[in-house]
């Protein structure tokens, strides 16, 4: 009842007033989304005791970069960071190549067996072998504890492939493909000379989606890479953020006993959140307009 009353009041309001109300609502929502991140950022450059005493709601207190120094002095974090970069670079290249190699043939209308092949891939979006059978196949193919386990088993991203296939079908001008065929270009030549250059926007989206997925992935490593030397950054952070345990190298950095160590552990929590989240937060705004279009192309035909 409250709602209809409110709507009745607003009906009488002018355009300007409803603009102001909208902007205020949007600002509140932006605050709710951004403040948790801002708070961790502030906390990461403050004294942890001040953070826990509630002195850092808006501005840092006793500005310090010790948390970041500790993060970059911690061997396990550095190893994790480098591992994550490695998995992200190799995995992204691998995934995008796989997506392109499968999306293009499936976008060619007259390809015999096209429908069968599409269904062949799409079924895997809805049904799977589940955790253990997949684990056993990965084990039997010798991928356990090798970096290949990070991308080969999940290498063909079907939902992304469909987005790209739809893009090829609807957004690459048909006349250009037909012209190439008339000139006697093979399918491969058409793919390399026309499809790839004309689909840079969707490729940018796929690169970003893959990068984000690999950078943030930890579960694959948890199952398939039991050796700690392979652990990606998020998995290293699990010990710090979730289990709240100080690593051996952290303990070695401290001379001042338990209190100093626990203070450092808290600082590392805040700064490692920022270190892990920042790279992707910097990248995604650059391709925002592309993925907004790309997501749509994959969902519903216009």
């Amino acid at each position: 009842m409250g709602k209809s009353k409110k709507a009745g009041q607003l009906r009488g309001l002018s355009e300007r007033t409803s603009d102001i109300i909208l902007v205020v609502i949007c600002l509140i929502i932006v605050f709710l989304v951004a403040y948790p991140l801002y708070y961790v950022l502030i906390a990461s450059v403050s004294d942890p005791y001040d953070v826990y005493a509630g002195k850092t709601f808006l501005l840092p207190s006793q500005f310090t970069l010790d948390g970041y120094k500790a993060v970059f002095a911690d061997k396990s974090i550095i190893t994790g960071f480098l591992n994550s970069i490695k998995y992200t670079v190799v995995g992204t290249i691998f995934s995008v190549v796989m997506i392109y190699l499968s999306a293009y043939p499936l976008s060619v209308k007259n390809l015999p067996g096209r429908k069968f092949l599409s269904i062949f891939f799409i079924i895997t979006m809805y049904f799977g072998g589940g955790l253990m059978p997949t684990y056993l196949v990965v084990r039997d193919t010798g991928l356990i504890d090798t970096i290949w386990a990070m991308f080969i088993p999940g290498g063909v991203g079907v939902s992304n492939m469909i987005i790209v296939r739809n893009f090829f079908e609807h957004s690459v001008p048909k006349e250009m493909i037909e012209a190439a065929e008339i000139d006697g270009a093979s399918h491969w030549t058409t793919f390399i000379k026309i499809i790839v250059p004309l689909s840079r926007s969707i490729m940018a989206v796929m690169v970003v989606f893959s990068m984000v997925a690999y950078w943030n992935d930890w579960f694959t490593a948890l199952i398939y890479l039991p050796g700690t030397e392979h652990a990606p950054l998020p998995l290293v952070l699990r010990n710090i953020l979730i289990k709240s345990s100080a690593s051996a190298s952290q303990a070695g950095m401290i001379s001042g006993g338990y209190a100093e160590l626990s203070k450092l552990t808290e600082m590392i929590k805040f700064s490692s959140v920022i270190v892990a989240a920042l790279p992707m937060l910097i990248i995604y705004p650059f391709v925002q307009k592309y993925f907004e279009k790309g997501m749509m192309a994959g969902a519903v035909k216009g």
Partner: protein, 312 residues
């Protein structure tokens, strides 16, 4: 399926057999070779390997050589003390999550669409997308920081000292609220794209007729979104048994298990941690079967609408 119906007869030259036609596309098949091979090895062979749910898996004898065990593992699961609790927690967590998270992107996109200041609108959208790009591990780490009983943000604001992650009653709220924080902004993309299709002439006409903002949303925007809303609802309903495993796994504590004990985490613990391969597979299969039944039911109910969907 209806391959024959759709194949264009005009293109097919009479003399060419199917094999000759396929041969002319050899490069495309070659391109598909690796993706198809990987899909067979890592998707289809595991599907075939589900049979270990009905076998007594022994590492030495492998997936195909272990002895048959009938429904032993399913019986064990259904007679385990926490079986009902896990099924209930899985269903309720997904259902409440859908109930709360589903409408928010719709409301957000309707509101954002009314904003007339384009630059402001773009900035708001960019900020709303941000949490989607953060690892669940990091989100759970932030949650632990905010929910800490000693000096966590929530306790500082409320002036209390509650250990939220030890409270079974708080678990669902934490799970759902953080899910909304992370993905509601991302969810607006599809709706914003539909709204962008609306002809601005409709708004002009509505303004001349003296329609308020709410009337414009109600009579112009909302009808435009209905197909998309139904589609998203189908897709979410078909995923009802797939709770976000990662987050539950990372936020589960011994004390909140009354509400956080879900099938997916159990499958992981039994399989990877305790190496009970067959048992874990059986429990996972039960979860999948329930999900597939839901998916088929939802699809049947809405088969008319799904004609617009271009998955195949």
């Amino acid at each position: 399926m209806d391959n024959l119906k759709n194949s264009p007869p005009a293109v097919a030259v009479k003399e060419k057999s199917v094999w000759q036609r396929m041969a002319s596309y050899w490069q495309l098949y070659l391109m598909l070779l690796i993706p198809v091979a990987l899909t067979i090895i890592y998707k289809y062979i595991p599907m075939y390997g589900i049979q270990i749910a009905f076998r007594d898996f022994k590492s030495l004898r492998g997936m195909w050589g272990s002895e048959w065990a009938g429904l032993k593992w399913f019986q064990r699961f259904f007679s385990s003390p926490n079986c009902v609790r896990m099924i209930k927690n899985t269903v309720l967590l997904s259902f409440y999550s859908l109930l709360w998270s589903f409408p928010i992107p719709i409301i957000l996109s309707l509101a954002l669409n009314q904003l007339r200041f384009n630059k402001f609108k773009r900035t708001v959208q960019t900020i709303l997308y941000a949490p989607h790009f953060i690892s669940i591990m990091v989100v759970c780490g932030m949650l632990r920081i905010f929910l800490s009983p000693s000096g966590g943000l929530i306790n500082l604001i409320a002036g209390t000292g509650i250990d939220f992650l030890s409270e079974a009653a708080a678990f669902r709220t934490i799970y759902i609220a953080s899910g909304i924080w992370q993905d509601a902004g991302w969810g607006i993309i599809v709706y914003m794209a539909s709204l962008a299709n609306i002809d601005t002439a409709h708004y002009e006409a509505a303004k001349i007729d003296g329609a308020s903002m709410f009337q414009r949303i109600r009579y112009i925007d909302l009808p435009e979104l209905v197909p998309q809303i139904v589609l998203m609802l189908i897709m979410s309903a078909g995923n009802l048994m797939n709770v976000g495993f990662e987050k539950v796994f990372l936020l589960q504590t011994d004390l909140n298990k009354a509400t956080s004990d879900v099938i997916a985490v159990y499958v992981y613990q039994q399989g990877i941690e305790h190496a009970k391969y067959s048992y874990s597979t059986a429990v996972g299969l039960f979860n999948t079967v329930v999900n597939v039944i839901l998916l088929i039911m939802v699809n049947k109910i809405t088969s008319k609408i799904s004609e617009d969907v271009s998955f195949v």
